[in-house]
């Protein structure tokens, strides 16, 4: 089971004289291991030198390395000469990335399998046992270190001179705060600057004109632009209204069918929003009150609006009340009307907070 040679020193014997010319190199290796509390108990070649098996394995390893060379060369050739610029349609560039990955992958796998075969098949198998020195707690060492540390504390004399300790603490505490201050102070930003969490792009300036509802390309919207049962995403008709600077302003303008519009108006009246709709048109915030995704999938038949992120569903004809999923608050409704030129305008900003919920939302 284990390799016992006549040179082996029994356990507990004096260390070998490593300069003894009679020793083989393996004896010295084993002696070195033994000095590290490692016993090489089993050491057995997997293939014997000069055999067919060894030559075969050497060929396999060499084959892997040659594959690496070929694949790496192919990688370079493709990298340099393959047409790589994007062309619409079916250009050769479609194969550029796959070919690079393929050649690079094969090259790396070639090295990997070559080394693995070398290590696993050609090198001798061995079993060594190393002592963990577990449980042999060095009690004396612990005592000495402990006493050394306590002695250090004694020398500092904080116990005898408490003023030192107190003043050090009193002095250092503000220094820690000084380190944190620029970071906190620099980063901190008041969340209610300009009342930003409670207003959107539809917030008209004092005495200013009412803000139009515009399409993504900036054109204002007429009632005739949306067919019955249809919907359109609209934005505040202000500078940068159609951009992420007003991420809380995208609004869904829905043209309800007659019966649905009646139901919707009745629901509006119940909560005192009687004049929020214009005709059969209603406008709701597109920003989900749950996590802020655009609630954009409108199901005409059931008048439900679905948010694709977490599947909250809002019933448009009941003030966009959440009827399923994790959202707990209805989508705010934008009061709308049509101005003298026949375009939709917002009567005022949203009267409820738009977007995901937060602690101080009234």
């Amino acid at each position: 089971m284990s390799t016992h040679t006549e040179h082996q020193a029994p356990q507990g014997q004096e260390p070998l004289d490593v300069n003894d010319p009679k020793l083989t190199r393996f004896d010295i290796v084993r002696e070195g291991a033994r000095r590290d509390d490692i016993e090489i108990v089993h050491y057995e070649p997997q293939v014997l030198p000069g055999t067919k098996a060894e030559r075969r394995l050497a060929r396999v390893v060499a084959g892997f390395f040659l594959i690496t060379g070929l694949a790496a060369t192919a990688f370079l050739a493709i990298y340099i000469w393959w047409p790589w610029k994007y062309e619409p349609g079916r250009g050769g560039d479609k194969f550029y990335t796959p070919l690079l990955g393929l050649t690079l992958g094969v090259a790396l796998l070639g090295i990997g399998f070559g080394i693995l075969t070398w290590g696993k098949k050609l090198l001798p198998k061995e079993v060594s046992i190393q002592d963990r020195h577990e449980g042999a707690v060095d009690e004396e060492g612990r005592t000495i270190t402990g006493q050394t540390m306590l002695y250090m504390a004694d020398e500092l004399g904080v116990k005898r001179r408490p003023l030192l300790g107190i003043s050090l603490l009193a002095g250092l505490a503000p220094v820690a705060a000084v380190a944190a201050a620029p970071l906190v102070g620099g980063l901190i930003s008041h969340p209610h600057k300009n009342n930003q969490m409670f207003t959107t792009g539809f917030h008209a300036a004092e005495g200013g004109e009412r803000i139009r509802l515009v399409r993504e390309d900036g054109r204002p919207v007429r009632p005739a632009d949306i067919s019955s049962g249809g919907q359109l995403t609209v934005f505040p008709g202000i500078e940068h209204g159609v951009s992420n600077r007003h991420a809380d302003s995208p609004t869904l303008l829905i043209h309800l069918r007659d019966s649905d519009a009646q139901a919707s108006r009745r629901a509006n009246e119940r909560i005192g929003h009687g004049d929020y709709m214009w005709g059969n048109y209603a406008a709701f915030s597109k920003v989900c009150t749950h996590a802020g995704c655009p609630a954009s999938l409108f199901e005409q038949q059931t008048n439900r609006l679905l948010c694709p992120c977490h599947q909250s569903q809002f019933l448009i004809t009941d003030n966009a009340r959440p009827v399923f999923g994790p959202a707990s608050r209805r989508l705010p409704q934008l009061p709308i009307e049509v101005d003298s030129e026949g375009f939709f305008v917002a009567k005022s900003d949203y009267t409820e907070t738009v977007g995901p919920d937060f602690w101080e939302r009234p």
Binding site: Y43, E134, N244, H246, Q311, S312, G325, P356
Partner: protein, 543 residues
């Protein structure tokens, strides 16, 4: 004066002496070369995470040369025709440039993404290995805690990196992240507006995520990984029980040369697989998603897989809003529980587990031998419970896709997830517990009665019985039963595990020669006729 002849062969030796004169490294180096590592395939799972991390660093440095972490609005004029003339952030435009206008940029980007997914997957699987085999027990609790921290820091690294391209999909993810921060009671709006520099999305978040992703988080990861590996090295690896293996030794291979070669080869294999994936499998085709626009989203928008369990928990959460009627009124939104509280609980439970288990079992001993999962049914069942919980959440993270592909109602999927989250874990506990007991019993049965041979014998009275091959010499018992104790390791259950089959014929097309039966180098024993005999194994399975 005669010039001394330059002796080439003696140079390395002389140089080595010179180095040792100055640094005195010979003995410590020998200790390092000689360090013994136990070997088992399951010990390599953590290595995959380590190697993926190296690939992440390599490809990530490449990407930073071309990525522009700015939200300045630019009009795209790169080679990808469908988006030409579209206004977008500089971050998204430069990500498109990496994909289309930097030679080999796309393969690097995809390798980086795949390596990140593999990194997280390897961490999870490695963690399961450590958990189910009890490798986290004293003295290795610290490393278990560092390991669970590595998962969460890796999670952050993944999320910040995923957000950097500022495409339609990642922007939606960022929107949700801002809503999650916003949902924290009392300080939510302050935290969000401080991190985003104002209202979402602001103009600074990409640059802040960039420095977090390329400096702060990788720095933290490198530090944690170094301590993790340092502790493995200092405390020595755990090993499976087996002949000659005790709590007090390590049975395996010395680090050099064989173990190190295998590690090096394995690294190249992991690297190669990532390269293949990066080239052949498309990941995160940001050009199809378009730039982030707050009003655009599509169905089936899923995050990377390791975020899906939180997406799932968010989807399953009922709309329970807590209103506090003081003053103007305050709100704790339902989003707070599945995305802030749940991860908090998970971090707490997972880091505390080693201490909870030790306290429950009143176990203060150090353990260096691993346990087979079947031998610790309660722990294995608890682990199965956690896995069931995680799987239900992850599946629910894609419940809209499942509903769509299998024509199931979306609401039914949500309800199935809610019920499944409560029912599946206890069920998993019960089933796993019973399975463990069954496997234990079968081990004992084989030890007592031997291995089934498949040979049926007819007794004189006409009964048929199967002949069993006892595992030990019969011990005075007439029926050949021996007394074999269970040692916590695999019990052979098939005749060919006992050497009943002849040795496999080696060679692909034709058999190659049998090894010569003679010792070749000093210190080697004569090669014995049966290489399959039971010796102290290295832990490799002999299948």
């Amino acid at each position: 004066m005669k010039r001394r002849k330059f002796d080439l062969a003696a140079t390395p030796g002389k140089a080595a002496v010179g180095v040792d004169d100055r640094f005195a490294v010979a003995t410590p180096l020998r200790k390092l070369l000689n360090k013994v590592f136990p070997d088992h395939w399951s010990f390599l799972l953590g290595e995959i995470a380590l190697f993926s991390f190296v690939v992440l660093l390599l490809t990530g440095v490449f990407l930073t040369f071309f990525f522009e972490p700015a939200m300045t609005e630019v009009v795209y004029d790169g080679s990808y025709a469908p988006l030409q003339g579209t206004p977008m952030s500089a971050a998204y435009a430069s990500s498109l440039d990496i994909s289309f206008d930097v030679r080999g940029g796309l393969v690097m980007r995809q390798m980086h993404h795949w390596a990140a997914l593999l990194f997280m997957a390897a961490i999870v699987v490695h963690m399961l290995r450590v958990f189910f085999t009890g490798a986290f027990r004293k003295p290795r609790e610290t490393n278990w805690i560092i390991g669970s921290l590595l998962f969460w820091v890796g999670f952050l690294a993944g999320f910040t990196g995923y957000s950097l391209p500022d495409d339609g999909l990642s922007g939606t993810g960022l929107r949700i992240a801002s809503a999650i921060m916003l949902s924290i009671p009392v300080i939510g709006s302050w935290v969000t507006s401080s991190i985003f520099g104002g209202e979402f999305p602001g103009t600074i978040i990409i640059s802040r995520f960039f420095i977090a992703h390329v400096l702060l988080i990788p720095g933290l990861l490198v530090a944690l990984i170094s301590v993790h590996l340092g502790l493995v090295f200092k405390q020595k690896h755990t090993q499976w029980p087996g002949p000659g293996r005790t709590n007090n030794n390590v049975v395996g291979e010395r680090m050099f040369p064989r173990y190190a070669l295998k590690q090096g080869g394995f690294f190249m294999v992991v690297f190669g697989v990532i390269a293949l994936m990066g080239g052949l499998f498309q990941i995160n085709p940001i050009w199809l998603f378009g730039p982030y626009e707050a009003w655009v989203v599509s169905a089936a928008s899923q995050p990377d897989w390791y975020v899906m369990f939180l997406d799932g928990s968010t989807r399953l959460m009922p709309a329970w809003e807590i209103n506090i009627p003081i003053g103007d009124g305050y709100v704790i939104p339902p989003l707070f529980w599945p995305t802030v509280v749940l991860p908090g609980i998970l971090v707490g439970l997972s880091t505390m587990y080693p201490f909870l288990e030790a306290r429950h079992l009143k176990d203060r001993k150090s353990h260096n031998l691993l346990q087979r999962p079947r031998d610790v049914p309660a722990r294995t069942a608890v682990g199965a419970m956690a896995v069931a919980f995680y799987v239900v959440l992850t599946l629910s993270g894609g419940n809209d896709v499942i509903a769509d592909k299998f024509q199931i109602s979306l609401n039914a999927m949500t309800w199935a997830g809610r019920i499944g989250l409560l029912v599946a874990p206890p069920l998993a506990y019960y089933i796993t517990y019973r399975l463990c007991l069954g496997l234990q019993q079968h081990d004992r049965e084989v030890l007592a009665h031997g291995v089934e041979t498949g040979i049926i014998r007819r007794l004189p009275d006409g009964r048929f019985v199967e002949v069993h091959q006892p595992l030990s010499a019969s011990n005075g018992h007439a029926d050949g039963h021996g007394e074999l104790g269970y040692v916590g390791w695999v019990v052979p259950k098939k005749m060919n595990r006992l050497g009943a089959l002849g040795p496999a014929i080696r060679g692909f097309f034709y058999p190659i020669e049998k090894p010569v039966e003679a010792p070749v180098s000093p210190g080697h024993p004569p090669v014995e006729a049966r290489p399959e005999r039971e010796a102290i194994g290295s832990g490799e399975s002999r299948r």
